[in-house]
């Protein structure tokens, strides 16, 4: 299946229902079994896929509803990382975790999640993972000489998983690296680690860099200028950046540096419950198009929709799709 010009997709996560939050927390309190939780997750993911299809997205994700947060889902699959399982009171909390020895190679079990997504939609798919830089910032490092060394080893293990995902049919993989914005000084080595992560992975790679969305609020502020020129070395095909909440000032950087990447442009503010009109979305797309060729633009929300109520998340996706249609119509495409 081919996607139209200005393909629409989510950054990754879909609205986390209150009832699912409750059940996840019940699981951590040992009130429901793993088996029951897995079934619940299956239902929730199917529902998230259906919502994306109904909203009209061209490329769908699994909504990341199996994940407690963007860190723990990966940390607990990485062998050799010690987790204090009593440290989580609410499902969304981060585990306290530490690495005490070299991380061995192992399958992370993400392929099953991808296969479930593939089996439940006929649309194009995208699979999203948290990148090694962000992961290493949440683990207490008691073994490796530096964060860079830890991240490099995480990348080595995850590289194998990405190749397995490709074998299973993944064509578009997104790496989430929001912690770049919190630690801009890490970027030169962060990009090297990113390149190791995607080395030999035969799929289109997008890297999503935002200013954080923990608890539905930004974790940092600043300008994307810090990305340049280091990011130009990244062996990825698409940058996914937020422009709705922050405005489009940083789009100038695409004129200044002419990066070789496609741009996944965030045109939906995920930190505000007010639903954008399709006209506003269209206007935001037109603005991006002044700096990036239309053929190289994908249309996305600023970040995951995790913290928005479902009805609002759905309405925002629909507005995004409708706004994109306005621009496509203007283009006659």
């Amino acid at each position: 299946m081919t996607v139209p010009i200005l393909p629409t997709t989510m950054v990754g996560s879909y609205s986390m229902p209150g009832w699912l939050e409750r059940l996840k927390t019940d699981y951590f309190a040992r009130r429901i079994s793993r088996h029951d939780l897995d079934e619940i997750h299956d239902c929730a993911v199917r529902s998230a896929i259906k919502d994306q299809e109904m909203a009209g997205l061209d490329i769908v994700t699994d909504g990341e509803l199996r994940r407690d947060n963007m860190i723990d889902y990966f940390i607990e699959r990485l062998p050799g990382i010690q987790i204090d399982r009593s440290s989580k009171k609410f499902y969304y909390d981060f585990y306290d975790s530490e690495v005490l020895g070299k991380i061995p190679m192992a399958a992370l079990g993400l392929v099953d999640d991808f296969k479930f997504l593939l089996a439940n939609t006929e649309r194009e798919t995208k699979f999203c993972i948290t990148g090694p830089h962000s992961l290493c910032k949440r683990v207490r490092n008691k073994y490796y000489p530096s964060d860079e060394a830890l991240a490099t080893d995480i990348a080595r293990v995850m590289n194998m998983e990405l190749k397995e995902l490709v074998k299973a049919g993944a064509k578009l993989i997104q790496i989430d690296e929001p912690y770049y914005s919190g630690f801009p000084e890490d970027l030169p080595w962060g990009v090297e680690v990113l390149n190791k992560l995607v080395e030999g992975v035969n799929a289109k790679i997008a890297v999503h860099i935002c200013y954080g969305n923990r608890y539905g609020k930004p974790s940092w502020e600043g300008s994307y200028r810090y990305l340049f020129p280091s990011i130009l070395e990244a062996k990825v095909q698409q940058l996914s950046l937020e422009f709705a909440r922050r405005g489009g000032e940083d789009l100038d950087l695409f004129r200044e540096f002419s990066p070789p990447f496609e741009l996944g442009a965030g045109v939906i503010d995920v930190k505000d419950q007010a639903v954008e009109s399709p006209d506003i979305v269209a206007e935001r797309i037109r603005k991006v198009a002044k700096f990036v060729p239309l053929e190289k633009i994908s249309v996305l929300p600023d970040c995951g929709l995790f913290h928005l109520p479902r009805d609002i998340a759905f309405a925002k996706l629909r507005a995004m799709v409708d706004g994109t249609k306005i621009v496509r119509k203007e283009l006659g495409r």
Binding site: G18, R22, F90, F94, Y211, G212, R214, Y215, G216, K217, P218, S219, W220, E221, G222, R245, K271, D272
Partner: protein
């Protein structure tokens, strides 16, 4: 009979536990109470934080819960020594022939009670009230002074903020405009002192933060904002005066989402609309109130102001519309207002939350969360919902810059168990209402919104009941 001793003030409590026990045993022996009533009797011996409040010394309520019982609440501070027995007997066996209370409203949540109209009138006509009492609002505070204006506290606050800016500058993250917001400005004495101190620090250290500060003074009252200008006149170029609703500051300041580095308020949360709930038998009950004037007070006030008893209620309604001009002589109107305010009491009843499907908890709290919060709390607990404070708090957080923080100087109950050791309002403070703020609930709401809450005792004045709430980012 179960006696709940809800205070720790042995010396200042007029009614002692032994007196309470012997009183009820005597009433039983003399046949004023049946054995069945006695078996189902729940007595709550409270010590009310505010002498001026909305309670009679003895309050009788048919109790809610799985086992219906008779609930007697005793204000151990209000009961005069030796009067307990007489008051209890009168409460449980009222004289059928005596006139009933003069009600000002039907049963409703405290938040919707007419007393908040009185509270609003007080702030609108503060000058009139101060003139009539001959003392300023501040003099009416328990210590006669507001902790909000303490010079050292203000100096420390300015220094902490300067340190944050320095750190941001070191990280190359200092915004071009530095937004600071004060909600509920009063006469802006604090704002003026804070800006003086901040400018001095900036100059001492050779930083250039001061000219970049955008100091926003927010208050719902335009006249208060106007009155606040002189206190900040030295810094007027940095100041903006913004009419905003303290319950939802983001509405007026949506253009500053995630941009404000410091938000401060003093003694505001304790005066925002509040309501109470009771956690009993693992169920949540709303405390509904009905404001009334005791009949003897209505007669007394009526005769003092030349009004029949039914005219008293009409004049109360008029007072809330036009203030002291409700009477031809505004001075008398002031007197009427003060007498009525002093006389207002609440009748109370508990209603199971399941019977009030239309009543919602404040935004940020769900019944499921409340159950989680209360599951480890004492089994029979009456607590503030602090709905106004919760609303204001939750609607302020979106303004905060990722490195920004909120400081609230106020009176907080920081642990739910404290509700078993005192009764923290509603009380009357001059012509306004005061409620301690349920910090334990605020902490839970903050947690879910991505913040940790901390409460530091106000260490600048011995005996102060104030705490300073401050937020830190939750990872």
């Amino acid at each position: 009979m179960i006696l709940h001793l809800n205070h720790t003030r042995q010396e200042s409590a007029a009614a002692s536990t032994s007196e309470v026990v012997s009183t009820f045993l005597t009433l039983l022996e003399e046949g004023h109470l049946s054995a069945a009533q006695f078996a189902r009797l729940q007595i709550y011996l409270d010590w009310l934080q505010y002498k001026q409040n909305f309670r009679e010394p003895i309050t009788l309520m048919q109790s809610a819960g799985q086992t219906p019982s008779m609930e007697v609440r005793i204000d151990s501070r209000q009961v005069s020594p030796g009067c307990l027995r007489q008051l209890v007997q009168k409460a449980i066996q009222p004289d059928a022939g005596s006139p009933g209370p003069i009600y000002l409203e039907d049963f409703r949540s405290l938040r919707s009670s007419i007393v908040w109209d009185f509270n609003q009138l007080y702030w609108q006509r503060l000058k009139d009230w101060e003139r009539a009492t001959g003392k300023s609002y501040e003099k009416a505070l328990p210590g006669g002074v507001s902790d909000g204006h303490h010079p050292q506290a203000i100096s420390d606050s300015a220094r902490d903020f300067w340190k944050l800016l320095k750190d941001l500058e070191t990280r190359n993250q200092l915004p071009a405009e530095i937004f600071v917001l004060e909600i509920g400005v009063g006469l802006a004495m604090r704002a003026g002192m804070w800006l003086d101190r901040f400018r001095a620090l900036d100059q001492e250290n050779g930083t250039s933060y001061y000219p970049r500060v955008r100091f926003l003074l927010g208050d719902y009252s335009l006249s208060t904002l106007e009155r606040s200008r002189p206190a900040v006149k030295k810094h007027i170029d940095l100041c903006s005066f913004i009419a905003l609703d303290a319950l939802d500051p983001t509405k007026a300041l949506s253009f500053l989402r995630h941009k404000v580095l410091h938000v401060h308020s003093s003694n505001m949360y304790d005066n925002l609309p509040d309501e109470e709930v009771v956690w009993r038998d693992n169920r949540l009950y709303w405390v509904q109130v009905r404001a009334y004037i005791p009949p003897e007070e209505a007669v007394r006030i009526g005769s003092a102001f030349g009004l029949a008893v039914d005219g008293v209620v009409r004049t109360v309604n008029r007072l809330l519309e036009v203030g002291p001009n409700a009477l031809p002589d505004p001075e008398k109107g002031m007197g009427f207002w003060m007498e009525i305010w002093k006389a207002i009491r609440f009748e109370e009843r508990l209603v199971d939350a399941v019977d009030l499907p239309e009543v919602a908890l404040p935004a940020g709290l769900s019944y499921v969360q409340m159950e989680d919060i209360l599951k480890d709390a004492p089994g029979d607990l009456r607590l503030h919902l602090s709905s106004g404070a919760l609303e204001s708090f939750r609607n302020t957080l979106p303004l905060l810059h990722p490195r920004g923080y909120l400081h609230v100087q106020d009176i907080f109950v920081t642990d739910l168990h404290e509700y078993c050791m005192g009764f923290y309002g509603p009380g009357k403070l001059d012509g306004s209402i005061v409620n301690w703020v349920n910090g334990a609930l605020l902490r839970e709401v903050a947690h879910r919104a991505g913040y940790d809450l901390h409460f530091a005792p106000f260490r600048y004045r011995v005996g102060s009941k104030t705490s300073i709430l401050y937020t830190t980012q939750r990872e």
